[in-house]
Structure formats: structure tokens, C-alpha cells
Symmetry: C2
Subunit: 349 residues, 2 copies
DNA sequence: CTTTAGCACTCTTCTCTCTTGAGTGCTAAA
DNA sequence: TTTAGCACTCAAGAGAGAAGAGTGCTAAAG
């Protein structure tokens, strides 16, 4: 059977009607929205075809039609009109972002909540870890006889620091020397290597100083470990409850606790496309089989990517969500996409 | 009318029965749990008295009784038996805490979720800000011709650092000099003062270096601002849905969005008691009038306090929650209560 | 004066049935 | 191929009846 233009148009009306009201759409309502005068009977014939082809479903014999996942997919791929953002929409995204631009880390952890607020759906943000992060530089700053600050600069240009106690009172004038030792032996190597080399040094450095090195190296390893693990932040899960498809408390809780407790299993985009839409059963994870996810990725620093995703019922306003989310992701790319340190090439010019 | 021991005992049975099952408790069930043989008719007489006195309520004429807020209050004040934690309970709290002890900031932000997990109720954590935090020390570390690291040590012993770009290429050998300038002019003073003094310096320092000072001072002011504002973290709000009193999606959403969007209004303890229980209408906030809150506070650093709270239906297992929460708070006090830097007195001994 | 047994009464909850109305599928004519 | 007409289906809502838990009251017993 052929998928005529008229069939497509009917499908589009059904999707948009159902997205707007959550009620199955009947032939009469469709007839009114179709250009030209077509009777509801004709529409019914077409609807029957669309059901047969798998683009629509009927909840029961005497209800209107609702889109099937396949129907949504066709809608998203071909029928959906580009939603152009209003000034209001872009403004509210911009203003929220400009306030918080301080630190990359913070933005990622807040992105989930921000996205959720703008989209009106639960959302999440993932910063993918990189296993190739190393320490670029150590710095030790003496504070008093019993404490010092360890500053660690990572190869992804993030800087972390922590106050540390000295177990034994030692002459802080030797701190620069220890810093030098750290910089010569423990930079640009992976975490496992750090532990190894530290062991080798245990003979060459006297006890109390070795403890200091140990403390700093532990801290560095912890940072590298954190950098290599991906971090996931969810936000606005309670927005789920406003959708009729989650009025059933058990369904709502299933998805909510999935988003909170099994964050790590939230979908990440396959391939390189900057925006991806997963509809209902297209999701691998059981908890999402009746929901849809829209994902957009953005650049962080040099070669890193982060992603933001929106979760909702399959009856999601894909056009609006996709437009807003991609704008949001582009904004983040614009803010953090450029390397934070100028590269060698740029410096030379 | 007198509140006899027997009446109290009946009240206790009603509270504990209702807390366990969420069903109104009938006279027959009570009679079976009472020591000695007392008929259900006698119990009914007592129940009628307890209702008259305001300790119990009946949802409708032919249902059992449920405790009123006043009844819960009496239970909490007098009747509740101290719940002693099992080894399992303490172990799981300890093990979760020991893993994350790295940084105070992180613990506060994760405490909400951790508490929620252990209690089985939604929870929150607040770190109260202090307005008297100042910068104790600045440190500038050159990275390359166009960037440096600003390290700021605050008077509450926290250390923060950030990578900064230089607008103009300047000789980084003068960085220590700038650091010295910052340390002599901008430490131990409040944020407003920093802005003021910076203005005064604008003449004395040449343009590009002034920009650098500006950048660092802005960062410091932002940190002080953050330190003075209180931060609130909620966790496990989706746990609400498992309680029958929140099966009504609208009620659930009201409380959930209150906990997420109006975090700042979550109750803080009055007075000095380390543990506080607010039952139903005792809560000031409308959104909490039908819920209860258990709050415990703990020490951070020298003279600071943080707090953790649990939110749930008035039908809450107060004995268990109180015991676990106070243990949790005590553990945090133990970990962070001691000043992170030894005080002068300790050093001199 | 307190406790108890007995019994009618109340009120929720569950189930079953009936009604209503939206929407369909099919047929036959245009 | 389109349309009008009509019988049919099914969910949702309203009522009615039955079941069951628990009460309140009364009168007798301790």
C-alpha cells in the first residue's frame, strides 16, 4: 500500500492533535482540520489504511487513533516542521546560562535542572569521562607548620586544590623541592603509573616527606579517577507527574527511580549526530520502552563532549523540545567549546 | 478528663499500628495487643475519650481511629521507645560516609541523597552560610604567558582555585608581586570592602595588571558570596510516591515541587536542640502542613553548623527515623566537627 | 463505678448493571 | 473514489445492592 501525501498529512494531524490533548483523535476532528472539504468517511478509510500499515493504533474499537512509535518516527523524520524559537525562549535560556558560566563542572551539574525547567520535561546531563586525563602540574603552598595546600592542574585544564595536614611537623621551606619532585616524576602519566612510581620512591625519600608525597598522589589519583568516570545529573523528575501517561503512580515511580538510581543507564547518543531522538521501544532500556528521549551533545574544552537529554512520554512535543534542546546545546558549545587554554598554534600567531 | 496510663498505652498501639499499615486501627485489634484481657468494648470507651481529648481522629463513623497531630506529638514526646540501631544500620551509614569523606562541600551536597537512601524517605541537607567568611590568603601560579592559576584560601579553611586567562601578555615574573599585593590589601576583609579597595588601587597599578587584580578579586567576591548564602540539597523526592498518602498525584507533586523548587523554605531547626521533629500543622509552610519533618544538625569546622532533614507523611516511623538521623548527624559531626586547622592553643601544647 | 456482651446502625468499598456518547466499520449510492 | 447513512462497539460514569469492618449504645455483671 502506498503512503500518499494525504495519508501523511492525516498522520501529521493525528500526531499533533494527540500531542496537544492526550486524547485519541477521531475522523471528524481530522476532517475539520484538513484543507479542502473531505468527509469524515473518507478520512476513516485512510485511517484504516494507516492502522494497517502500522503508523497508527486504536486503543479500542470505538476510540479515535493514536500514533504508534512507527508513526512518531515518520513524523519526526519527515513531517515535523522546524520549530523556530521565540525571542522569549532564547532569552530565558541565555540569561540562565550567562549567570552560571563560572565553571565547567558546575554547569554540567546544573544543566540537568536547567534543561528540565526550560523544556517542561525531566532531563539529564552527562559529562563523559576521559581516561587519558593526566596531571599537568603540581604546586604546593605552605600554610603553617602543620598544613599546606596542594594545587593540581589537570591536562583538561581544570584546576583542583585541597588543604592538607602534615602528620609530622616538617620544615615547610622544603615544600618547593617536593613540588619539583612531584612535577618531574608524576605528571603526564596515568593514575596506575603514579602509584607505581610512588612505591619506587619510598626508599629515596625520608619518611615524613614520603607521607606528604603519598597524600598528594592519593589526591591526584582520586581526581584522575573522577575525571575518567562519567558523571550524570538528573533534574526535574517530578515534572513527570504532570503528564497523564504517568498518573499511574507505579509507572511514574518506575521511571523516576530509574532516572535517579540508575542514572548511568540513561541513553547516550550513538554516532556523531548532534541531536538524536529515541522513541518508545527504540530505547534499549526496559524502563524507557514507553517513553521517549531527546539527546543533544555539546563540546567541552578541546576534544570532550557533554550531553543533555530530555525524557518524557512518547507523546512528546518533539518539534519544540528538539529546537530548544539543540539551541541549549549550541549555547553550551559556544561557551565551553573553545579550548580554555590557547593552543600552541594560536599562541604562535 | 484524665489521661490515664491505659489511655496512653492505647494511643501508643494506635500510633504504631497506623504507622505500620496506614489503615485505621479498630478496637478489636487493640484489645488483642493489650496486656491482660480487656474487651474491645472497654477499648471503645477509651477510644471515645481519646477522640474527645483530641489525640485521635476517626476518618468516618464506622472506621477505626487514626492519630491526630496532637496524638503524634504526645507519642513523640512521651510514648516513643528509643530505637536502637542494628549493626546493619550503623554499618551501612558508616561505609557510605567513609567513602566520600574527601571534601566538606561534597558531603553536604550528597548528604540529602544519602540520608534519603538510608531513611527511605525524601530528605534534604542544608549548609548554613556565614557572612563573616573572608579571604585568608591568595596565591598566584603562573602557567604560561597567557594564563595563571588563582588559589584562594578562605577563613573557613576551604581552598578554591581557578584557571584564569590574561587579557594581555604580561611578564609572569611579576606574578608573586601581584600575589603579595593581594595578600596585603585584600585579605581578612568582607566582600564589599574588596570592591572598594580595588577601586582605590586603579590609579596605582598599571592597566593590564589591574585587570588581573580585578579578575582575581571578582573570583574572591564570588566565593565569599557563595559562602554567605546557604545551600540546600534535596534527594530521593521520588520516594514520596511509595506512601499511600501521596498516591494522589496532585498532592505528591505539590510536595515534590516544593522540595525541589522552594528548597530554601524547608524548615531549619529553632533553638539549639540537636534534633527536632515537626508534625503536620506544626510546620509553618503550607506545603508541609500534612507532612512531618525530622531535622538533625551537625557541626562543620569550627563554629559552623549543617543540618539534615527527612520529610514524610505524618504517619512516619518517628522512632526509627530519629535514631538513624541522629546517628547520621553525629557521624558527620565526628568527621567534620573538629576544626580542620589546629587552633593556636592546640599548636602551642 | 467500671467492665463486658449484645445488637442495631453507619459508612466505605466492591461489584454488577445500565446508560450515554463518541467513534467506528460497512454498505450502497453518487 | 468519495460520501451519506446506520448499526455496532466500547469506555466511562451513574446507581443500586451486598459485604464487611467497626462503632455507639444499652443493659447486665463484677
Amino acid at each position: 500500500m502506498e503512503l500518499t501525501d494525504r495519508k501523511k498529512q492525516i498522520l501529521k494531524i493525528v500526531v499533533e492533535g494527540y500531542v496537544a490533548t492526550a486524547d485519541p483523535v477521531g475522523s471528524k476532528a481530522i476532517a475539520e482540520k484538513m484543507p479542502g472539504k473531505i468527509s469524515s468517511a473518507t478520512i476513516r478509510n485512510e485511517l484504516a489504511d494507516l492502522v494497517e500499515m502500522g503508523y497508527l493504533e486504536q486503543p479500542h474499537t470505538s476510540a479515535g487513533r493514536i500514533p504508534s512509535p512507527k508513526g512518531y518516527r515518520l513524523y519526526v523524520n519527515e513531517l515535523m516542521e522546524q520549530h523556530t524559537l521565540t525571542a522569549e525562549e532564547t532569552d530565558s535560556i541565555n540569561s540562565a546560562l550567562t549567570g552560571k558560566l563560572a565553571q565547567v563542572d558546575q554547569v554540567v551539574s546544573q544543566a540537568g535542572q536547567m534543561v528540565s525547567r526550560f523544556m517542561g520535561y525531566p532531563a539529564y546531563a552527562i559529562a563523559e569521562g576521559r581516561s587519558d586525563v593526566t596531571v599537568r602540574r603540581f604546586e604546593l603552598i605552605g600554610v603553617d607548620e602543620q598544613s599546606f595546600i596542594a594545587v593540581v592542574m589537570l591536562s583538561d585544564s581544570r584546576v583542583k586544590s585541597q588543604l592538607m595536614q602534615l602528620q609530622l611537623s616538617v620544615d615547610s621551606r622544603r615544600l618547593p623541592e617536593m613540588g619539583h619532585l612531584l612535577n618531574t616524576h608524576f605528571t603526564t602519566i596515568p593514575a596506575q603509573e603514579i602509584s607505581l612510581r610512588l612505591m619506587n620512591l619510598s626508599d629515596q625519600v625520608e619518611g615524613s616527606w614520603f607521607l606528604l608525597l603519598h597524600q598528594v598522589c592519593d589526591y591526584a589519583c582520586e581526581l584522575l579517577r573522577q575525571a575518567s568516570g562519567q558523571s550524570v545529573f538528573t533534574g526535574g523528575t517530578s515534572q513527570l507527574l504532570k503528564f497523564p501517561e504517568y498518573r499511574d503512580v507505579d509507572k511514574a515511580q518506575e521511571l523516576m527511580s530509574f532516572m535517579v538510581d540508575s542514572k548511568e543507564n540513561l541513553p547516550v547518543p550513538m554516532g556523531d549526530s548532534p541531536m538524536q531522538i529515541l522513541i518508545g521501544p527504540e530505547n534499549v532500556n526496559d524502563a524507557l520502552k514507553e517513553s521517549s528521549v531527546v539527546i543533544a551533545s555539546y563540546d567541552i574544552g578541546d576534544h570532550m563532549r557533554g550531553l543533555v537529554g530530555v525524557v518524557g512520554p512518547t507523546r512528546m512535543d518533539y518539534a519544540t523540545v528538539a529546537a530548544r534542546l539543540s539551541y541549549f546545546a549550541e549555547s553550551l558549545s559556544r561557551m565551553f567549546g573553545k579550548p580554555q587554554l590557547p593552543t600552541k598554534e594560536e599562541t604562535q600567531q
